[in-house]
């Protein structure tokens, strides 16, 4: 009995503290300017969509969301295309210099962004990638590859090798074994990696801030960080933009909670 009460308290506290702060932003986004500026502020919104309208039309929210969608989508696709074969080779085949490859990947996942920011800026400058969406996609892919390869490789290792051996005896090369046999079995692993890459690319701020300096190319995090009004901070529009930036993530978390939990803890268990 005491145990159930303790558990109930734990659930109540952790759910409440997780959700309440953001709820304040949700409430704010449905308020009117008068609700926000009254001192003391009102608790409940008078219920209108004014802030969403002004955020969309006066604050480029539509552009930011579109750019985020393009950047996150292309990062996910590209990173998966590169990570799947690499993870398969590292999990199943003899790769000469495997230890070196693994060391490079492990090292990259520890880099502070600042230690590579200057050179990446120069690199993209010389390639003409500054202020282009593909200019952030390339570093995003490079920085998500280690995690993606890690998750996928540990997933490939758990598949029974017999099918692949049979395919090889029948004359399948490594590439066709991967595509015909392993990939169809590995969809849950690929799905997990895709979700984590997608969330990273949707949320990344620092490189986007450096590389995308024109508002037409900027993603949601940059737009929200640099949100400015003419005279005062436009908190209402900011809250509306934040809700728009967060809503897709909430949907993803609600639908894919199981895969996220298993994906993030995969590294810990297999260490």
């Amino acid at each position: 009995m005491k145990r159930r009460m303790l558990l109930g308290l734990g659930i109540f506290l952790s759910v409440g503290l997780s959700l309440l702060p953001f709820l304040w932003f949700v409430l704010t986004s449905f308020k009117s300017q008068a609700d926000i500026e009254s001192i003391p502020p009102t608790w409940w919104p008078s219920g209108n969509l004014g802030f969403y309208r002004t955020a969309l039309f006066d604050h480029r929210l539509f552009d930011y969301a579109f750019n985020s969608l393009v950047v996150a989508g292309s990062t996910t696709i590209l990173a998966l295309l590169l990570a799947i074969p690499a993870a398969y080779a590292l999990a199943r085949l003899t790769v000469p210099g495997k230890r070196g490859v693994l060391a490079v990947l492990l090292c990259v996942s520890m880099f502070p962004q600042m230690a590579i920011a200057g050179p990446i800026w120069r690199l993209l400058d010389s390639m003409g990638g500054l202020n282009h969406r593909w200019g952030v996609v390339l570093p995003y892919v490079a920085l998500t590859l280690p995690l993606a390869i890690w998750i996928l490789a540990s997933f490939f290792k758990e598949l029974p090798p017999e099918l692949e051996d049979a395919a090889r005896i029948d004359g399948c090369g490594p590439w066709s074994t991967l595509f015909r046999i392993t990939l169809p079995l590995a969809t849950p692993g690929i799905f997990t990696a895709a979700i984590l890459i997608l969330i990273y690319a949707w949320n990344e701020f620092f490189f986007a801030l450096l590389i995308l300096t024109q508002p037409e190319q900027q993603t949601l995090p940059v737009g929200i960080a640099l949100f400015q009004g003419e005279f005062t901070m436009p908190w209402g529009e900011l809250a509306a933009a934040s809700v728009v930036a967060t809503l897709p993530l909430i949907v993803v978390v609600l639908l894919c909670q199981r895969w996220i939990v298993s994906g993030l803890s995969a590294g810990a268990v297999k260490g």
């Binding site: 659930i11 304040w24 490859v101 050179p119 090369g173 701020f205 803890s265 810990a268």
Partner: protein
């Protein structure tokens, strides 16, 4: 080995390399080479605003200057304070959350999803959110504490110590659930028979936690500590959005100082030295942790 078998072998090696090479190439170009380049730049004097000076090789001068730099020293202290405080709090909160979501109960999936939401929210959004909550006029904190006693309202982010605390709070809110997931993975590895056996021997809940859960959880806790320490060292988004390093230098962390020297002031050589120094510190810390994790894994394997 027959000739044809050897041929298949080398063809397979070629295929293996063709699978790894594209990923490796991109990683080397956009992560490994840039770190090397940062180190190379840090050995030079380069000023963006003064292109006529070109780049002048100065050896370790920038690093010597860094050791004497009072702003850098202050930023190091702030960073270390932030790392220490936020990781300890995150591990404590993470452990409590993990114990809750490890239990069996109806609607556990929904509870897990709710707890993951702060982790999924963009850091920039979380930063603006907490900045608004602690806003001096419109904030929720003042409304909750003082209601309509408007004259008592506190400009939280104007006080150095409080502002630092709020940045820590935002970080703890945002990332405790990540620590919780890593700890949860460790909890799931502990066999139930151990608890049953302890219960038979008359051990209470606290004793079971103290003598079974905690010791067996050590590797997972160390791993969570490693990830959180590395991330806390790299803190940038929160400071950029919430305080810009202020008030004064209360939240001036190393990454933000590096950003300012590199991109605001355009001192490429010196800024690179700052970021390389941060990188080396993270590297050293993770090597220490990895040794500790390695030895604690060995301990666990012993019968």
């Amino acid at each position: 080995m027959t000739r044809s078998a050897r041929l298949t072998m080398s063809r397979e090696r070629l295929a293996a390399w063709s699978m790894v090479a594209p990923a490796l190439l991109l990683t080397v170009t956009f992560a490994l080479y840039p770190v090397a380049d940062s180190f190379w730049l840090s050995l030079h004097h380069i000023f963006i605003g003064l292109p006529q000076l070109g780049s002048q090789f100065v050896g370790l001068d920038n690093y010597l200057a860094l050791l004497q730099d009072p702003v850098a020293r202050q930023a190091l202290l702030v960073t270390l304070g932030f790392v220490l405080l936020s990781t300890v709090l995150e591990l404590a909160c993470g452990l409590m959350i993990a114990l809750v979501i490890h239990e069996q109960f109806r609607g556990r999936g929904l509870v897990r999803a709710a707890i993951l939401i702060p982790w999924a929210i963009p850091t920039v959004v979380a930063s603006q959110l907490w900045r608004y909550i602690f806003n001096d006029q419109y904030g929720f904190a003042n409304l909750l504490l003082f209601g309509d006693r408007v004259t008592d309202y506190i400009p939280w982010l104007a006080y150095p110590t409080i502002a630092f605390g709020i940045v820590v709070l935002a970080d703890v809110w945002k990332t405790s659930s990540f620590a919780a997931l890593l700890i949860l993975a460790g909890l799931q590895l502990i066999p139930d028979d151990l608890y049953d056996a302890a219960r038979v021997d008359g051990a209470g809940a606290w004793q079971r936690f103290r003598h079974i859960t905690l010791p067996l959880l050590k590797p997972a806790l160390l791993l969570a500590l490693l990830f959180r320490t590395m991330d806390a060292f790299r803190v940038f988004d929160l400071v950029f959005v919430m305080t810009q390093g202020g008030p004064g230098d209360a939240t001036q962390v190393l990454q933000f100082y590096g950003y300012q020297t590199l991109f605001t002031e355009g001192r490429i050589g010196y800024g690179s030295a700052v970021s390389v120094a941060v990188f080396l510190m993270i590297l050293a810390l993770s090597l220490i942790y990895l040794r500790a994790i390695g030895s604690s894994l060995l301990e666990r394997k012993r019968p």
